[in-house]
Amino acid sequence: MEARGIRKSSAIITIAAGATPQNLYLRTAGGQNPRTVILRKILAYNAVAATTLMIGTGLAAAWAQQWPTFRLVNNQDNEWTEDQIPEVELSANLTVQTDVLGVLVQVEVDEVGS
């Protein structure tokens, strides 16, 4: 598959509060034209209880889920790679929420721009 952008990764995000969206990946918005973001890979770990993982855009009331909910199995590393993730291209930071706090999440994205 031809690369559409440059591959970048988020920091390891620890979910601070259940059912509350928080920043997952901050896109590069400097320069003449802000870049867009395509989610390529998800790695999530949960040792609290089986839960769900939702990735979208916006915080608080501006939260908008952008992919169907992912199920996180307890005490397992949960992985999704780019052939399993719809190629949704977003002009915003990625945000994340789970039902419980303490879940660890890291993603890879392609940033599209020039």
């Binding site: 440059i6 901050l26 590069t28 400097g30 020039s114």
Partner: protein
């Protein structure tokens, strides 16, 4: 009869020499072409000694405009280089310090990590350094986080020259056949 190689600056594809030894070049420095015969050519591999780190750059900030002293060429030599950006920066090329390369009327094109996506061979990044007519780079960090390092790597060819004072751009006394080497900006 063997075909002569088609050699010229900015040639698309993996980097090639722009002339063969024994051929004549005109090197554009200080708004004139200076003429030389090429005596010797050798490759300059992409390697750590000719990779520059423009340093840590805060989110949204820019580095100092940095002289590429590592690409300085000896007297009567010029270098042909292509650039590859290794970190997520937007780098402006200058030659000399205040003269931007790759410029349009209102905008200046920059080297980025995206460059290799649409120009894998880097031919649009090609530039030439004659003796101490330095190139300069400034890195801009357009991300939302600080960059600890901002690296650009180079590779190309080295050309050893013999001056040809019998030819003069100013007097329009030109060699019968020669290759143009744009070693500074065209202002």
């Amino acid at each position: 009869m063997p075909a002569l190689p088609q050699l010229y600056p900015y040639k698309a594809g993996p980097i090639e020499m722009i002339v063969m030894p024994g051929e004549i070049v005109g090197v554009w420095v200080n708004k004139v072409y200076n003429f030389f015969k090429v005596d010797f050519i050798e490759g300059i591999m992409e390697s750590e000694p000719i990779e520059i780190d423009l340093g840590a750059v805060l989110a949204g900030a820019a580095s100092a405009t940095t002289q590429l002293a590592l690409l300085e060429m000896p007297t009567s030599e010029f270098g042909q280089f292509r650039a590859r950006v290794m970190d997520d920066i937007s780098a402006i090329v200058f030659q000399g310090r205040a003269d931007q390369r790759h410029k349009l009327f209102t905008r200046v094109a920059t080297l980025t990590r995206f460059t290799s996506l649409h120009d894998p061979c880097g031919h649009t990044t090609e530039f030439f350094v004659h003796e101490d007519s330095f190139a300069f780079l400034q890195a801009q960090n357009q991300t939302s986080y600080n960059l600890a390092q901002t690296r650009v790597a180079f590779h190309g060819f080295r050309y050893v020259l013999t001056p040809l004072p019998e030819y003069s751009w100013t007097l329009k006394n030109l060699p019968p056949s020669w290759t143009r080497v744009p070693a500074t900006a065209h202002l």
